[in-house]
Symmetry: C2
Subunit: 513 residues, 2 copies
Amino acid sequence: MSERTAARKRRQARAERKPDSIVQRPFRQVTYRYRPMALLSLDQIQSIHHTACRILQEIGMKVLCDEARKAYREAGFDVDDSDQIVRFEKAGVEALVGKAPEQFDLHARNCAHTVRIGGPHAIFTGVGGPAYCMDLEGGRRAGTYEEMCNFLRLVQSLNILHQEGGGGFEPLDLPPETRHLDVFYAQITLMDKNWHPWTMGLAQSMDALNMGAIMMQKTLEEIAGATIFTAIINTNSPLQLDIPMAQGLMTMAQYGQAAVVTPFTLAGAMSPVTLAGALAQQHAEAMAGIVLTQIVRPGAPVMYGGFTSNVDMKTGSPAFGTPEYAQAAQASGQLARHIGVPFRSSNVTAANSNDAQAAYESMMSLWSAMTGQAHMINHAAGWLCGGLAGSFEKLIIDAEMLQMMAAYMEPFEVSDAALAFDAVREVGPAGHFFGTAHTMARYETAFNAPLVSNWDNYDTWLERGQVTAEQRANQIWKQLLTEYERPPIDPAIDDELKDYVARAKREGRVVQG
Amino acid sequence: MSERTAARKRRQARAERKPDSIVQRPFRQVTYRYRPMALLSLDQIQSIHHTACRILQEIGMKVLCDEARKAYREAGFDVDDSDQIVRFEKAGVEALVGKAPEQFDLHARNCAHTVRIGGPHAIFTGVGGPAYCMDLEGGRRAGTYEEMCNFLRLVQSLNILHQEGGGGFEPLDLPPETRHLDVFYAQITLMDKNWHPWTMGLAQSMDALNMGAIMMQKTLEEIAGATIFTAIINTNSPLQLDIPMAQGLMTMAQYGQAAVVTPFTLAGAMSPVTLAGALAQQHAEAMAGIVLTQIVRPGAPVMYGGFTSNVDMKTGSPAFGTPEYAQAAQASGQLARHIGVPFRSSNVTAANSNDAQAAYESMMSLWSAMTGQAHMINHAAGWLCGGLAGSFEKLIIDAEMLQMMAAYMEPFEVSDAALAFDAVREVGPAGHFFGTAHTMARYETAFNAPLVSNWDNYDTWLERGQVTAEQRANQIWKQLLTEYERPPIDPAIDDELKDYVARAKREGRVVQG
C-alpha cells in the first residue's frame, strides 16, 4: 500500500469514525473569590451618582405611559402631564432604590437549574433579542420557529449556560401578534432552565406570567414569592421610558419578577461622548426604572443593567467590546454595587463573522464583566453582528470562552498534595512527569477540557483539513443537536400550556408596542 | 446607469482609492493604575515560596556549566561536581535575590524609545524564538532573512510595540553559525527601538554586547551602567541549567544586562500536573537563575519570567492561553512581587491559524498578564502555532488587541466637563448627541481608533467582500511596509557595525550550544 493510499484510508477511517462525545463542565454557577476591579475611586463613584441624581432632579425623565406617571406621582415625585416629564427628588430616589433586595433566587422548572442572583454569584445567559438567525452555511437570514427551537435545544444542552436569554432570534415565519406564545411554549418545554420572557407591553407580560405559573404549577401570587423571571427593560435613551417597556416593568414588578433595567447609552449618540457623562445618564435612567419597580412592589427583585458602549464616530455605528465598553462595564458594576442592586453586563461584539475580531471583542466584554463581577452576563453566548444575529457557531465558541472563564474562576489549590514536593523529588532534574503516580492520579481532571480549541501541531492540523474554530463550532452544534434529549415534562402541564396558547391565539390578543 | 453598473463602479472606485493612512496610538508605555488581581492569598504565596526553597535546598538544580557551578560554589552554595547538582541554602538565596533591583531603565538607540522596567510600568514586546515564518498566502514555512527584516520593519512601525523580541523568526537561508550577526545588524539598523539579543552561549552573547556597544557608541563598561538588553534565559525544566543558557546568563549579568530567567514548566510534562507544584518548581528554577546573576554582578538588573502552562493530557501537546495558563500567569506575578523582581509574562496561543481560537487564547493570556500587572508582555505580537511560527497577520491582530488593552488602561476621567451635565440638559429626553458642542469638541479623540476591527453593518460588510480580521490584517501589514521609513543612523556607526559583522564572520567564531 503506497503512502498516499494509506493516508487516504486514514482520512476515510477518521471521517467514518463516530465523533467523540462532547465533554462539558457540569452545570454550576460561577463564584467570585477575589476583589472586583476598582476602576473608579469612591470619589469618582460619588461624583457620577451625584450627577445622575441631578439629572433626575433637574432634567427628569420623559415617561410616555400614563400608569407609570400616575405611579410616580402617587409616590410623591414631581410629574408634569403636559410634557410627560417626571422629576425626582434625590432622597426619594435613594429611599426607594434602598428597598430593592441585594440578592434573590431565580427558580427554574428543574430545581437543579435554580440560580442565585447577587452576592458572589454569577450566571451566564444565552443571547436574546436578535432579529436574524445565522449559521456558517446560510449566513444571516430570517430565522424560523424550527431553527429557533434548535437554538433553544442547544442552550439547554450547554451546561455552561445557566439561563436562556429570550429565544435566540425572532421566529419570523410566525405572525408577530402571537409569536411570543409559541416562543414561551418552546422555552418551557424544550428546556428546563430558567428563561427570559418577552415583556413588550401588558398582554405579552401577562402571557409570560400565566404560562410561567402553569409551568411551575403555582398561582401568580405564589410565583411572586418565588421569582421565575428576569426581564430586560430598556429605557429609550436619552431619558425616556416608553409605553410597552413601562408596562412590562410594572407588570413584572407587580408579580414579584425582576426587571433588568438597562439603558442603552451609546456614548456619542444617545448619551454624552465622555464615558463619565454616559454613565451618569445610564445611572439616572437605571435608577428611575428601579424606583418604579419599588413603587409598584416594595422589595421586588430588580437588576441594574449596564450597556454603555461607544459609537464609531466616523459612521455613527455602534461599537461593542471596545476598551471604552470594558471601562464602562466595570464602572457600571461599581455604580450598581454603590446602590446595592445586582448588576447585569453582556458579552458583545460588532463583528459580522466568527473571526478573530468576534473573539477578541467578546473577550474584552467577558473579562471586563467577570473582573467587574457582574451577576448576570447577558448575551453570554450567540451574539453576532452587533446583536442583530443569533449565531449557532458563536453560541458554541462563546460556550468555550465561558467554560474557560469559569475554570479560571475556580479556586487555586495550595495544599501539600498540590505543591507536589515529593513528585518533584521523584522526577528530579531533567526528568519528566508524564508517568509519575502524582500525574496519573490527576491527569484526567487536572485541566479544563476544551470544547472548540484544537491543540494539534501544525502538520497534524494541516493533514486533518485546516479546520478553523468556526468550522469546529459548526460540527459541534450539529452533534449536540443529535445528542439532545428533551427534558421530561408532565403531560398534563404540557396540555395546559397548549390550551393556554390556543386560547390566547383564538382570543386574538393584540400585543402592544 | 443601471443599479448594477453603479454598484460595480463604486466597487472599482473603492479598489483604486488609496487606502487611508493607518491610525495608531502614539508610542507610550502602559501604566498600571489599579491593584493587581490577588489570586493567591499571602499564605498561599508563602507556601509556594517555601516549597520552592525546599526544592532548591533538598533536591537542587543540575548545572551543566562548569563556570556556573564554580560561581555557585564560591558564593557558598553546596556543589557536587560528580552529579553536577547545586543545593541552595535558603538564607543565601534570599540574600542574593534581594540584591536585584526592583526597577531599571532599558535604553534604546533612539532615547525616545527608552523604557522603564518595573514598578507600575509595562512594555509590550514582539515575538521571539519561532522557527518558522507564516503569512496568509504562504502558510507556515522556512523564513528568509529578507522576510525577517520585513517583520522587524513592522515591529518598528507599530507604536504599540515598545520592544522587539528576538527577530520574529529564524532566517533559515543564512548559515546557523553566523546568522545571529545578521539578525543583530538588522535589529540595530532597521529599528531604533530596544531589542532582544540571542544569548545562546558565550560567543553569541559577546557579539550582542559588542554590537550593542557600537550601536550606543559606548564601551562595554558604559553599557553595563545603562542597560540596553533584556535576554531570555530558559532553564531546562525540570531543575536543570544547560551550558549555553548559563553562559548567556552569566555574560549578560557580567555586563549589567538583564537576564529574563524563564523556566518552561509545562504542568504535567516538565513539572507537576498541579499548578501549585508547577509554580513551586518554576519559582525554584527562577530563583536559582536570579541568584546566579547576583553572584556574577550584585545589583545587576534581572527579570522573573513566568511561562507555566499545561499540556493536553490526551496528546502531550503544550496548550497556551488556557484557564490554567491564566491562573499561573497571575500567580507568577504575585511570586515575582514577593521577591521584588520585575515580572515577565506572555501573549500565547496554540492555534494554527488566525481564527477565533487564536484571538480568545491570546486574550486569556493578555488579560491575565495585564490584570496580574506583568512588567514585560513578551511575545505580545506575532506568536502563532504554539510559538513555532512568527505570523505577519497575528502581528497585526495582536497589535490591535494591545492597543485595546492600552486604551483600557488609560485613566478614567471624572470632571465636570466629562460628567457633561450641561450636554445632557441641552439634548434632553429623546434627543441625540451627535451634533452637540460637547460631542463636536471631543469626537475625534474620544475613543480608541481600531486598527483591524470592522464595524460596518452586515450588508455593507457583505457588499465590501466579507473581509475577515485575518484578511484585513494581511492588507494592513502590507500597507505598513510600503509606509515604513528606516530610522536614521550615523553612517559611521553603520560602517562600524558592518565591519564588526564581516570580521566576526571571517574569524569564523563557532556559536556554542
